[in-house]
Amino acid sequence: MELPNPVLTASGCGGTGRELAQFSDVARLGAFTTRSITMAPRAGRPTPRMAETPSGLLNAVGLQGPGVDAFLQHELPWLVERGTRIVVSIGGGTAAEYAALARRLADVPGITAIEVNLSCPNIEDRGRVFAREGSAAAEVIASVRAATRYDVPVIAKLSPDVADVVAVARACVDGGADALAMINTPVGMSIDVDTMRPALAAGTGGLSGPAVRPLAVRCVWQVHAALPGVPIVGMGGVTTGRDALELILAGACAVAVGTALFNDPYACPRILRELEELLQRRGLDRLADAVGLAHRPAGSQQRTRTDLEESSL
């Protein structure tokens, strides 16, 4: 999978694409990731769906969406027309449902990659999310991989709410995942002390924003250390070019911007510009040179351009 730049939108944070297109060209994104598409239309969760927390945002939208048919009819063609690279996120309640979705998408032209949202409740396992366990996640990934065209990569989106993220990552790769995306939102909760009730109608919700960035950096770091050959899309609180670079140094080869879009609709082009400047200032001509760079042993200073220029050799 080749992308013109490493800054993507995160699933569920860019609407249908039309909303962001009012501000900047969606075709100039590294890729646009759709909200998680489900088989049937979904009305989502009751309101309030959102609560602000320090440097974070709790949300429980509940995958509101029109279902795969309406998506293919009204939303995808618009993105394809504009020349957008499209990562379609899919969500389901059983491995079979994921596979059925992947089959519906298999013959549709214009899809760059499939991202599998593994943070959906598994209705065959008392509603525990697939991402919590390597075997459940791998089963979903294998069924999606089998139903997807060979030249369309399958990306497994992992949750940080696990005892061992590396084990789940490894299981997904063994199941056929071509790349990994991390992190999905960890589950959090907020209680309104004035009403003395949970702030969200759903009680709990996914926490996003800069508050979770250290969690994302840790997950990317651990997985990159264990599986250095697997491409990782890093996400979790990326708000500036520095944040993007932090995830890249931990081992991500692309980053996705989520909650920052709510505050700054121009966040993606701005973060890309800031990232390019930072790389340039560090003498890194190619992004690939920066991927996982923080893993090099301490003391092995990277040779900077000035070192080379001033060398007498």
């Binding site: 009012q22 239309p41 309101t47 309030p48 769906r49 959102m50 602000e52 939208v61 505050n263």
Partner: protein
Amino acid sequence: MAGSPVQVTGTVLTTRRVDAYHALTVVAPGIADRCRPGHFVTASVGGPNTSMLTRRAFAVHDVKPDYGGTVELVFGVRGPGTAWLADLRARDTLDLVGPLGRPFPLPRDPCTCVLVGGEYGSASLFALADALQARGCRVDFVLGAPSADRVFGALRARRMGETTTLTTEDGSLGMRGKVTDVLPGVIADARADAVYACGPMDMLRGVTAVAVEFDIPVQVAVEERMACGIGVCMTCVLPVIGDDGVTRMVRACTDGPAFRGERVRFEDVGTIPFDALGAPGGRHA
């Protein structure tokens, strides 16, 4: 949907206290030119290193051509975000995105309109009244709040409206009671053809019920909590009946904030009605 919203780093021109509320006039050229009555703007709060990630949405009270275009926002302090805004001073900068939302539709022919405002919801009604009067409409105001200091724009309403009726729940200004207590009388006296309303959700529900009884169209501008204001976060949804008769969870920010009152399922706001498109276990699932 708004034509084309823009992000502007505006400069605060003036700040003032209006009874219980704060009003902020911001120089925001690109936004001011495009604003229509009913549009709103969102502000980023807390400065560049803020820990408050969501934008705050405000109806535009006034648009003026000064300094290339200014917008005035009216708000009450409800939390740390609005408290930060209330502390802004002239020459501070403020990050605004707008104009957003679907503005109020205007009648084609001159008619009589009653404009109902609850608390600072009345802020967005004066630009609407201007636009209606420019089309030869007669405008009558009904403004209400719990107490006198929370009725916004009474003076201006008296200047602009054919009649102005004020209500407060504690009787400190105008009639004692709620706007819905006096609205039937105002509609009957003015022989109103349409109602516009902006304010808290339960007031909008009451106003819609009255308008339905008189069988006249009613436009309501809802105040839902939003995180982004541009239609991507999906948090400001409410159940609204579409042209096809199907209830959908629609976004207040891009499908609204102005809706036909009788299409909003006020009783079900805050829930997913069982017959909504995609409701759990619903017939469309």
